[in-house]
Amino acid sequence: IGHPEIFPLVFTTKTQEIFNCRVDEDVTEENCFKLFKKEDIIQDLKTRAAISDFHPIKNVVLEYPGEELLVVFDAKFQYGQNFYLVASEEAKENLLKPPETTEEKEEEKEEESREETLEVHPYKHPVHKPWVSLGSEKEVEEESVKDTVTKIKYMISRVRRKFGAPITFTDKNASHVKDSYVECTSYQDKTFSIKMLEKDVGLQMIPKVREASTQTKWTYPKNAATQYFPRQFSNEEKEECLSSEKLKEFLTSVHLRMEIALQQNEIMNAFYDDWKALAEDESSSGGKPDVYLKAYQSFTDLRYLKDRTISCICWHPTIYGIIAVSARERLSYEEQVNLSDKSLLQQSVILFWSFFDPIHPQLMLECPEDIYCFQFSPSDPNIIVGGCINGQVVLWDISQHEEKLQNAKTAADEIKMTAVNTVNASVLNILQYIYMSGPSPTQVQQSSTEPPSARYCAVSSIHYSHKKPVTDIHWLPGYSEENQMAATFGNRAEGCLQLVTCSPDCSILFWDIPVTKLPEQPSSEKLKEEEIFNMPLDVPDTLRHLELCWKPLLKINLCESDTNTEYSPVRISLRELHYHYKTSEKVQSLNTLEVPAKDGPYREMSIPSSKNLKALESISTGFFAGTEDGEIVYSDWKMEIDSDSAKPHTQKYTLHTETITTLQRSPFFKDIILSIGGWNFAIWKEGVTNGPILQSSCSAGRYTAGQWSLTRPGVFFIGRDDGNIDIWDLLKKTHEPSHFQNVSESMITFISPCSASPKQHFLAVSDDLGILHVLEICQTLSHTSGNE
């Protein structure tokens, strides 16, 4: 069992007595070794043969080399029996000695361990182990170069004195030698004939390298230029060419093709991008913004607009962000009739607001009376004309404040009082005006609570003005005039210097603003009180009643009577340039424009007499007039020589129930007119005489104001008396407003749209409380779709 020399034995008691290894007497656990002589064992074997204990190991014993055999008492039965025999010398030695040494060591260790808990092995140096050859030295030997043959050494010596001795040459006769020449023949030396059979040579591969060189020629850039002129024919040559037959033939054969091509182009617009147009349509139809009118700003002034309603709104035509409002007393109907009795407790003003300063009005225009309506002059935005409640026409010149208004956004602090423009000087010289300049230039506007005010520079004479409030006022382009014969004449195309006013007193007045200084006589005669610069040619013409409540607004009103005649500038006959006194001539001239007189008050337009001017036949003189009763009258200015017929051209429509509040021509179509009044609105077309082309049903609220949209031909805005604004989009729905929105609590008195920039469109709405709301029109309402 791992120990081939160990043989377990069982010793009987008899055997133990014979060999003196009795248990617990001779042999103890500690003293377990017993050496038996080999002879004794052999003898025992012989004597007891089979019953000898050594019988099973008889061979082993016989073969045992040594003399003594070791038997060990196995107290613990380590090997299975109580004794075992050790069959080899070495094992015997090992068992005998190491147990002793181990015993000793164990004793020592035990002693040591008692003293120390740790055992420290003494440091042993790494023992050099002998190098074991694995065959590598053979390879090394093979590779190493050794001399196979020992090198031969030669030593050559010569006597020293023979070195460097001078050489002596002797001559020898060649004939003495055999063959008469001496030669030293070459022979093959055997010593050099050893062939090298094998040679160990090392090689290295490199790429082929070759050197080469070239030389290039360097050309440097140089600037070169030529000058030329086109060949041209002289004039004679040109003419010669032109008249040649060949050219004629060519052209005749060619021009047909050209015309066909041109016609093709005319028929179809080749540059029309269908794709883009399709996209535009889709974008406009899809998606509805929630709010059509976004409140942008609102302006009100507690001091000047207290208890007042705004009668008119006007955007400044050139300066962005400036809007002017006129205020008047809030009056009931009865009070309005008895206006002349009313005394003004409060100064009536026109206020200018700027977007950039919503608290302080920028400018204040003083008015003699409450202003019903006013307008900026289209040719000169510094001239403002207004119509008063008492029938007068008032004029302002704000050129002084123009710069300030323009700078309102940049520097609200500074007030620059510019000198009066010399351009207007001529105009103003005629008129006596008093400027109450505002605070001195050094004063800061913000410190002053009052906005700078400008006083009116001209007021028409009371005698010649309207008897009733001027309800509408318009500037007319100054190129047509009317003469005594009431024919329109073309005239200078100067700036707008004429205006027309209407009033419920059945009169329409044309006014003129002279550019040059008037001769003293006529002006002085005209001057009644202080300033009368406008000579209204008042003709008590029985025109239709025109009621212009506001500036002509376009409301869709089916009511017939217009209160406003919206004059497209081309059509209105203008006032003559020269002053004319009101004479009876005028009375004659306007007779043909008789209109059935209505009982209700209306405004009229009077036609001034004019001088001899060239008659202009082509200008159409038709106009619409809206009356206070809600009638719309269409008539013609052109007077006929024989005024026999009673208004041959006049038509009267009664559609609206109440006062016409708006009459406005569409800014896109010159013959489409919107009229708004009372409970409904109508759209008219000039030339269609049986009635309006569109008429709305009665609406929920009373319409009080309206305007066409400036950017979209089919859209207009109507204001109601409950503060709502109806937005009508004729392309979407024609029976009801496409959208309505509440803007204020009180009645809406005026609406005015403005396109301040291509992106920003504003709608100014004023209400009865004197608040001006500026709303921003959303994109769908302001941008036209493809072919609107």
Binding site: R231, L251, V254, A261
Partner: protein, 95 residues
């Protein structure tokens, strides 16, 4: 006289800006534009016309160029080549 008439008629068409007649060598004979513009146009268009014509003829020798239209973003130029002269019309379109 007839020449004038024809040219006037073409010029009077709607949208036509200018008309030019050029001889075979590229020298303007009759034009409604100012001199420098005319010279520029004739120089460029003459060469283009020659090139276009030679292209057509290379492809098919029996063929010949009858009309050349150049349509750009802003204008359209119409050229009719002839044996002795070339006529050019420039038209304008508004989208």
């Amino acid at each position: 006289a007839e020449v004038e008439e024809i040219l006037k008629r073409i010029q009077a068409h709607r949208g036509v800006i200018a008309t030019m007649v050029i001889n075979a060598e590229g020298i303007p004979v009759r034009t409604t534009l100012d001199n420098s513009t005319t010279v520029q146009y004739t120089g460029l268009l003459h060469q283009l016309t020659m090139k276009a014509r030679s292209t057509v003829r290379d492809i098919d020798p029996q063929n010949d160029l009858t009309f050349l239209r150049i349509r750009s973003k802003k204008h359209e130029i119409m050229i009719i080549p002839g044996n002795t002269s070339i006529k050019i019309t420039i038209e304008l379109y508004v989208l």
